[in-house]
Assembly symmetry: C2
Homo-oligomer: 518 residues x 2
Amino acid sequence: MNGADRLCETLLANDIDVCFANPGTSEMHFVAALDRRPQMRCVLGLFEGVVTGAADGYARMADKPAATLLHLGPGLANGLANLHNARRARTPMINVVGDHATYFLKHDAPLASDIDSLARPMSQWYGRIGRAEEVEAKTLEAYEAAMRLPGVATLVLPADAAWGELPAGAPPRRASLPPFRSVTPEAVRQAAETLRSGRRVALLLTGRALRADALATADRIAAATGARLLMQTSNSRVERGAGRVAIDNVPYPVDAALAALADIDAMIVVGAKVPVAFFAYPGKPGLLVREDCEIVDLARPGDDLAEALAWLADEIGVAAEAAVRVSRGFTDEMALPGGTLTDDAVALAVARMLPEGAIVCDESITAGARFFGLSQDSAPHDYLRITGGSIGIGIPLAAGAAVACPDRKVVALQADGSGMFTVQGLWTQARERLDIVTVVFANRSYAILEGEMRNVGVNHFGRNAERMLTLDDPALDWVSMARGMGVEAGRAETVEDFVRLFDGALRQRGPFLIEAVV
Amino acid sequence: MNGADRLCETLLANDIDVCFANPGTSEMHFVAALDRRPQMRCVLGLFEGVVTGAADGYARMADKPAATLLHLGPGLANGLANLHNARRARTPMINVVGDHATYFLKHDAPLASDIDSLARPMSQWYGRIGRAEEVEAKTLEAYEAAMRLPGVATLVLPADAAWGELPAGAPPRRASLPPFRSVTPEAVRQAAETLRSGRRVALLLTGRALRADALATADRIAAATGARLLMQTSNSRVERGAGRVAIDNVPYPVDAALAALADIDAMIVVGAKVPVAFFAYPGKPGLLVREDCEIVDLARPGDDLAEALAWLADEIGVAAEAAVRVSRGFTDEMALPGGTLTDDAVALAVARMLPEGAIVCDESITAGARFFGLSQDSAPHDYLRITGGSIGIGIPLAAGAAVACPDRKVVALQADGSGMFTVQGLWTQARERLDIVTVVFANRSYAILEGEMRNVGVNHFGRNAERMLTLDDPALDWVSMARGMGVEAGRAETVEDFVRLFDGALRQRGPFLIEAVV
């Protein structure tokens, strides 16, 4: 048994049995150790952004971390953009980053770099194993941090700690995970008082407060007090659709967000961050609530958000069995416009046709903007979105969710510009036979940036702006790219095409991609 | 005029007229400023690894930096792996990384991250602009650092420094670039003494010491003294082929490298690093020269390497017009084996058919290993290689070299595994109509890692090792992927196929990809 074996066993002892990986030479002992443990499912990504994005999607659905295996500083660097999203989603994840042997670092070999400096910005927890004897303790520490901070834990495994021999010992410890932190009675009382104050109050939710049961509790509180329910602009996972509570998010466009929050006198935050703009704009505020809006912290990340809501409901005297206002599902006849395909037609078709239990992974950016509103009456589903604004999460996120939930259909709504960032993830979908239908909104531009250019006063684009904001020369042929990576695909140019392809994709198992030309 | 305008003008005043870009919202004022200056050529990459890899290839051939435009921490993060390669190559480059407005950072908006911590590991120079008034001075500082350290300069441009208004003023300053540093007479004397000592001496070159003229000088020194000429394992650019001096590199495999250097008593380094292994292996040394090998520093990066060699030649009394031993070119008849395609057949065919003035970008890893040896008698060409071991440089490197040298054919030798890391770069090749033929060695595995697994004693791969080291399920269809991004392509399964496709690609202009199934 060596350090790498011990690492695998410690992960397995704590129910971590999926490892998304892109290994290199410095991780060969770890690969060999994984190879000795077929109960660990190793999933290869052909680029590390696929690896980390998939680990994010997996954990959002599995409520436990996957491990990742990343090769030295550059491999970690390739995974950082999606770690940024995972960090913002507070997704539990354990990244195992291989490093050179400790005694070898002094040589500054070609692949050496400052892993610590690279890892810290995108990790909620960071640690480095010194030698094989420390593997188990450090791995448990990473696991507890991932589960309870919660968030991204990055653990560096030097090659000599991986190959270092260990005496055969007791099996690794299963971590005695502490429960999520309870909020204080004072925080609950203060929130209750705010709700009773007669002011206009919003409850701002995120994280596990967006699971169906917690949302029902929040709705009972809102119904009893007249408070408004809101969630962050971007959230890790929302349980929604027919029979569940509908909740709006804080709008992304800064003017819309300011308008939506203008009348709020007090905001009770439940694991959430006080809303701020995504970007600064000259002459516009960064804070989206009024300066005089009172912020009341009911719960922070790492607190038991569902429990906090239940206590708050209790404090204000709402019966646990009080009725909940839920979405009713689509009641009218299917009324899709025919003919030329548009963003909205795709969004509406997907919303109407969404199968029960689907997992929607949404990186449709501008093109699918209307989907969220249209789908509150869809069949019950989970909704996963890009959380940190770092594009290139969609294809891997869908892959990870599909690994976590093999019996559920994953529907990925994908903008073309962002999809290209981790297009290699389609291959992983094919290799693992993942049950995903990817809808690419092929608008052939960075549409969001075209809007932002107009925001800075540029309405007539010259050659350089055209060259940086459009993707139409040449047009990306998503059908060819998908087939090139082993994913069946079709192109839709009319609503009828789209409905036929989407229906077919829902009826089959395995990955399918639809290029929706909009 | 705003800060972004001033940045563009300062770049242009210093002959920086190419900007590889992937912009985001925080860079819209910079995009608008670029759009007002059509003399700046903006080249879009659909992923930042394409952007930074292309900037590397451009500067290796242009001997001046390109600018890059990267979006915040995550955009920079996506570009880091190829910045790692550029840092190791000491490629001059100016990365402009957009950031949130300075006053907005306190909000920790979704896309905020610690850019400083991310940038420093992969940058030889790092700076942050505080406000519009500082743009010109900081940009000049970045330029001088890029040119004279030389290396990667990363400059953060906050949105408010970009949009901050400036009074119309004098045109920006052209930097008065200091010359490359001269080495000391003492260093030259010591190197000369070493060469005269009667010991077995190697001259280890890199950087501009590998241009044809400097190599000729080095060869005269070697011929006169019996010293051996060597270059680093990986180098930025080598001028070689028929009529030029042939030089071997330090082998990549550790055992071969140790054997190659075992008899060296003294090593004179010319801009190079003392050879160390790429990776540590249990029981094997990290340093590739003998412990008692004397290291003599003739020149360091940033020194004038060509001048240092000329001075050394002068010191030991070698006439500047002394004969040079050069490669003679292929003298025998074209003798390619026919039939089934192999790595070696591809390498030999490319070496034989290489057109004069070609730029070879080599990321063929294991599959093209023999090309370097076979091509010393090819037509005169430049040879560019992955320098930092961070895979995913090949496709972008070729794109950048082609932008720098529109009249030369670029031949990219590309392993399939590493090619997938930045496969999006094919689209940039198509959009810019770059004259590149990409040869993909489709061995459908991480062949180098299969070898490394055997190095750690694993000869029978189980399911997990298979799943992490092979790429054959499903096989990547490079022809479809290339066509999907607008690049013409063909597949070769026999030598005859390959020769026909390669010949056709050489005769046409524009990008073409050959999937060589080996």
